[in-house]
């Protein structure tokens, strides 16, 4: 492919002085630019302190086009599931039908835009809708041609029939005109009567043309024979029937006979007295000059091309198309200086240069929707590989990644993009990873949605990061329960420890736990961090105590200390919790357990006394601490006595 340099488009930024330095910052869907001065110069002070948000794609913000994106996404996903190993004979109809589905989505969207353009009162908006309609129209036109030429790949004979359908579909205004004529009081006298007839003939709609002509014939009884002759010529024109038994050669012979007959009629001046009929006769002969006289009615060079093929080369082969296309383009556009982008794209298609079509469309269209989907479909049809091994799936993936990345900047469309990335084998995964972690986690619901997508794809780092972000945010807002459950999801032990600590601090301060539901149902998640285990177990102790299952509670409490699950800083609280148990009438802690408790207390007080000199605690606090210790010692001693007595009694 030749490298042609084209000037990149310039976007003007208001309120930034011409030639002034600009700074910028990339955002997810836009780029921020601002005036600045990079050189350290004395005369810095500048007037402008605006920041401008520059966006690339405005299309994805159109609610109507959003439907296009949504619906084509379904088709895309469906296409990806077509089995690779099916024989191409059964696959081809599937591909054609998928192609038609895409086109019908474009059409539906176009209709809606058209309605919107009509109903809006805002001229600006109407223009914008109008622009979008014209883009979609061109898109569909190109797509349809690609479908005929590349996907359906009709052979000689059928090829022309498909092209005729293509032109008829995109030159539909003749039906509108015909209706207008027929609904008028005297259709035969209508100023557009002959335009309609000729248009029908140009499109090969000979049946319709004949019906129109009978109206004229009835009005001119004198010319009855002439009309009859034309009617017979029109009715006799052979059309190839791909489903029939006739071979292409047979058809060709038949067609030549007919052509000769028409030619004879022209030569013997059968229609000399009626220039309209004479014109039609010349059209039937495919006379180039006559066809070019009908330029207004043909309106496009590709209509001219198809009409010319119809009446000169009905058995045209795909490989011959480019020759006729090129010459029709040149003949038709002689008045205009040069072809437009659309012309070049269609011409490239007629030349079967798929890459040129895709390349030109990428430049000419303002979003990646069209090229991405078309290329994907062509790639599935194995058309890109056969064309050039070096490109192929590379190109497909490149375009899909571009399109999906564009979707990702949208607050809801990003979910569609995920499936596109899934079907890009080389970079899809990395792109998804990079993009999905940037999706703003505005609410817990959205976070869960993003999380689910990441979990389904085993994107563990993203899962961890999202949970961590949510945990941090919840913690900052003092929602400890939410913070804890997010950090459990993130399997973030350090953070779970930190939050557990906060829970315990809160308990020490208020004497109650918040988020009981969560803590009571930790299950195996408790094992994530020691502190979390302690939190869970400590809460379990409270529950047992509340249910008056004292001996179990006591056993658990003790084990928290002896198994070193409880942090040393918390032992005093635990021992204090043991106090009421020690002072129950019945013995709860056995003698052995009481010894262990005493040992714990001893260990605690000895460590307290070693750190005491260093700390500068107020006297009062130390007093309280001292009183607590003494109370505990007393209770422990009493309990020990009771336990020994009790245990001795039972033994005997």
């Amino acid at each position: 492919m030749e490298e042609v340099d084209v000037d990149p488009p310039i976007t003007n930024i208001p309120a930034v002085g011409d030639g002034k330095h600009m700074g910028f910052a990339w955002g997810p869907g836009d780029i921020l630019v601002y005036e600045t001065q990079h050189k350290a110069s004395g005369t810095s002070r500048s007037g402008s302190s605006f920041i401008h948000e520059v966006r690339k794609d405005e299309d994805i913000y159109s609610p109507i086009l959003r439907k296009l994106f949504n619906e084509s996404h379904h088709i895309f996903v469906g296409l990806q599931t077509i089995k690779e190993d099916l024989p191409s004979k059964t696959k081809k109809p599937q591909f054609v039908s998928i192609s038609k589905n895409y086109r019908s989505v474009i059409r539906a969207c176009m209709e809606e835009l058209q309605q919107a353009a009509i109903s809006t009162k805002d001229a600006e908006e109407a223009t914008r809708y109008g622009n979008q309609v014209s883009i979609l129209l061109a898109t569909e036109l190109i797509w349809n041609l690609c479908e005929v030429l590349f996907i359906d790949a009709a052979p000689a004979g059928s090829l022309l029939l498909h092209l005729l359908d293509w032109v008829r579909l995109h030159k539909a205004d003749v039906y509108e005109k015909a209706r207008e004529v027929l609904q008028s009081e005297s259709p035969a006298e209508h100023k557009d009567f002959w335009d309609v007839v000729v248009s029908y003939v140009l499109q090969g709609k000979l049946e319709e043309a004949r019906q129109m002509l009978t109206k004229q014939a009835n009005r001119q009884p004198a010319a009855k024979n002439m009309y009859k002759l034309m009617d017979s010529l029109l009715s006799k024109m052979p059309f190839y029937n791909p489903a029939g038994t006739q071979t292409l050669t047979e058809f060709d012979v038949k067609w030549r006979h007919w052509h000769e007959e028409v030619d004879r009629c022209l030569q013997d001046n059968s229609f000399a007295s009626n220039h309209h009929l004479e014109l039609i006769c010349k059209i039937l002969l495919g006379d180039e000059d006559t066809l070019l006289e009908c330029k207004e009615l043909l309106s496009t060079w590709y209509h001219f091309l198809v009409t010319r093929l119809l009446f000169c080369h009905p058995t045209v082969k795909p490989t011959e198309l480019h020759y006729y296309a090129q010459s029709c383009l040149t003949m038709f556009l002689d008045l205009r200086s040069a072809p437009e982008a659309l012309d070049s794209i269609l011409l490239a298609a007629f030349e079967f240069d798929i890459h040129q079509v895709i390349k030109d469309c990428s430049i000419a269209l303002n979003n990646w929707w069209f090229v991405a989907h078309l290329t994907d479909l062509l790639d599935h049809c194995k058309l890109l590989q056969s064309h050039n091994l070096h490109f192929g799936s590379n190109l497909r993936e490149f375009l899909l990644l571009e399109y999906a990345s564009g979707l990702f900047t949208h607050h809801s469309l990003w979910q569609l993009a995920v499936d596109y990335f899934d079907h890009c084998p080389e970079f899809g995964r990395v792109y998804l990873e990079l993009q999905i972690e940037r999706v703003p986690l505005d609410t817990e619901r959205k976070a869960l949605k993003v999380l689910r997508i990441c979990e389904q794809r085993q994107m563990s780092e993203q899962v961890r990061s999202i949970c961590k972000i949510m945990a941090m945010r919840a913690l900052r807002n003092n929602r400890l329960g939410s913070a804890l459950s997010w950090s459990i999801r993130a399997k973030d032990a350090a953070f779970a420890t930190l939050i557990s600590e906060r829970f315990l601090q809160d308990y020490c301060a208020n004497g109650t736990f918040s988020d009981l539901d969560l803590i009571d149902n930790l299950g195996p998640a408790m094992l994530l961090s020691d502190r979390l285990t302690f939190l869970g177990k400590y809460r379990e102790f409270h529950k047992l105590y509340g249910e008056k299952r004292f001996s179990e509670a006591a056993k658990l409490l003790l084990s928290l200390m002896t198994a070193k699950i409880a942090p040393r800083s918390f032992w005093m609280t635990l021992l204090t919790d043991a106090l009421p148990l020690l002072e129950q009438k019945e013995v709860i802690f056995s003698a052995e357990q009481t010894y262990e408790l005493m040992f714990c207390l001893g260990e605690l007080t000895s460590s307290m006394s070693t750190t005491a000199p260093g700390t500068d605690r107020p006297m009062q606090e130390e007093d309280i601490e001292q009183t607590k210790v003494e109370l505990l010692r007393l209770a422990l001693a009493r309990n020990l006595a009771m336990a020994i007595v009790k245990e001795g009694t039972i033994e005997t």
Partner: protein, 414 residues
């Protein structure tokens, strides 16, 4: 491309840096007026300033966000020879209602004896680490060992680069195959001093950063530097703003010994002198499909690689000195958009239409006209509805523009 919105930043002096947060919902701006402002994006896309405070006693060069895993944390660096770390605290509900937030200074990093020219957080997988570089040629790496206590930062590494440093960039790769690595650029303009971009890599054994490479071909002053997201590749891509824009590929050499730093094969991928003179900033978009650069020509240029990794300029943003017609937050915001779209069509006349080339528009359908009913509209190109009320200028520029575009252009996707 179009200007969707203009925001009056209301800084009393030059803006030096604007930085998006990780999710693109907040931005921070800093200025010579010694302040930093934080902006929040509302549901409808408008930006609101939620905090503005004096941060330094000199021009603030750069402001940057920590990853949200670490909370809402900003770092700034200044001419006043310090860098600072700021944390947003969840304020009184009163403030929230008024749309204000509180930022408090967690630490001031005062180790530099000269202007701190750049500040960057290290990739999040390394923990909460902050890097500064300064005019005295020292790169400093700080770490907050306890992410819940941002007032404690310890200086972990001090790396002398011998040349006045202007910019720093971390390699974002979190692959185990890639040890932590950063690039530092120098704006020393003395060509004789040799390469102005140095690559440093962390060595597990010595627990120190060692120089892995100096880009010897870059001898002019370097103003900015940016590693591209790694995309799971074995090599790294580095963009450099010097007297031109350069894109390098750093391919780790297989034979490099396990003990020493990785040796790289340095390949230049692209080099653009379109800015005509000094280039000041380079930066990648999220997936590194686009590189933006700004330079002395007053333009921001966007560079894009096609699927064969050929780089091309695909867009230019340029100040035109025209007055601003509407401001964000005002009901007139729409007119900003209108203003710029008018410019677009003027440009289209020169064959340089903004964004992509549009097919000629159809006449806008009106209720009651034939076209109004017709679905789809009858003609693609020849729309000769004589009674059209559409002003001439609408159709004309497009026709002209399409002609100007004829010589068929290099596709982005080529």
């Amino acid at each position: 491309m179009f200007v969707a919105r203009s925001i009056a930043a209301d800084h009393k002096d030059l803006i030096h840096d604007v930085s998006y947060d990780f999710h693109g919902r907040r931005m921070a701006t800093c200025s010579s007026d010694q302040s930093v402002k934080v902006w929040d994006k509302s549901e409808n896309g408008e930006w609101h300033c939620t905090a503005s405070w004096k941060t330094h006693s000199g021009s603030v060069w750069r402001v940057t966000w920590a990853h949200p895993e670490f909370g809402q944390v900003l770092a700034s660096c200044s001419f006043d020879r310090t860098a600072a770390v700021w944390e947003e605290i969840v304020g009184e509900s009163n403030d929230k209602q008024r749309g204000l937030s509180h930022w408090i200074k967690r630490t001031t990093l005062v180790d530099s004896r000269t202007s701190v020219t750049d500040v960057k957080f290290a990739p999040k997988h390394m923990g909460l680490m902050l890097t500064t570089c300064s005019a005295d040629g020292v790169v400093r790496i700080y770490e907050a060992p306890d992410v819940m206590n941002l007032s404690q930062w310890s200086l972990q590494h001090e790396i002398s680069c011998k040349l006045s440093c202007s910019c720093i960039s971390w390699n974002p790769s979190s692959s185990r195959a890639h040890p932590p690595m950063f690039a530092v650029g120098s704006d020393d303009s003395n060509v004789a001093c040799g390469g102005k971009v140095q690559i440093y890599e962390y060595n597990e054994n010595t627990r120190k950063y060692g120089k892995a490479e100096t880009l010897m071909t870059v001898t002019d002053a370097v103003h900015d530097i940016a590693f591209a997201p790694n995309l799971g590749r074995s090599f790294h891509v580095l963009a450099i703003a010097t007297k031109d824009v350069r894109i390098f590929k750093l391919v780790p050499r297989k034979e490099s010994s396990s003990s020493g730093p990785t040796k790289f094969e340095v390949q230049i991928v692209a080099q653009f002198d379109n800015h005509n003179s000094q280039v000041w900033r380079v930066s990648w978009n999220i997936t590194s499909t686009l590189l933006a650069s700004s330079g002395d020509d007053g333009c921001v240029r966007l560079w894009k690689a096609n699927y064969m990794y050929n780089w091309k300029c695909t867009g230019i943003l340029k100040g035109d000195g025209s007055p601003l017609t509407g401001l964000s937050g005002q009901p007139t915001a729409m007119s900003t958009v209108v203003g710029s779209s008018v410019q677009t069509s003027q440009n289209a006349l020169n064959g340089m239409s903004a964004g992509r080339y549009f097919f000629p528009p159809l006449d806008p359908p009106r209720a009651g006209t034939r076209y109004g009913h017709l679905l789809p509209p009858s003609s693609l190109i020849e729309h000769c509805d004589v009674e059209s009320v559409q002003p001439q200028q609408q159709a004309l520029p497009h026709r002209l523009s399409s002609r100007a575009l004829l010589t068929l252009p290099e596709a982005e996707a080529q």
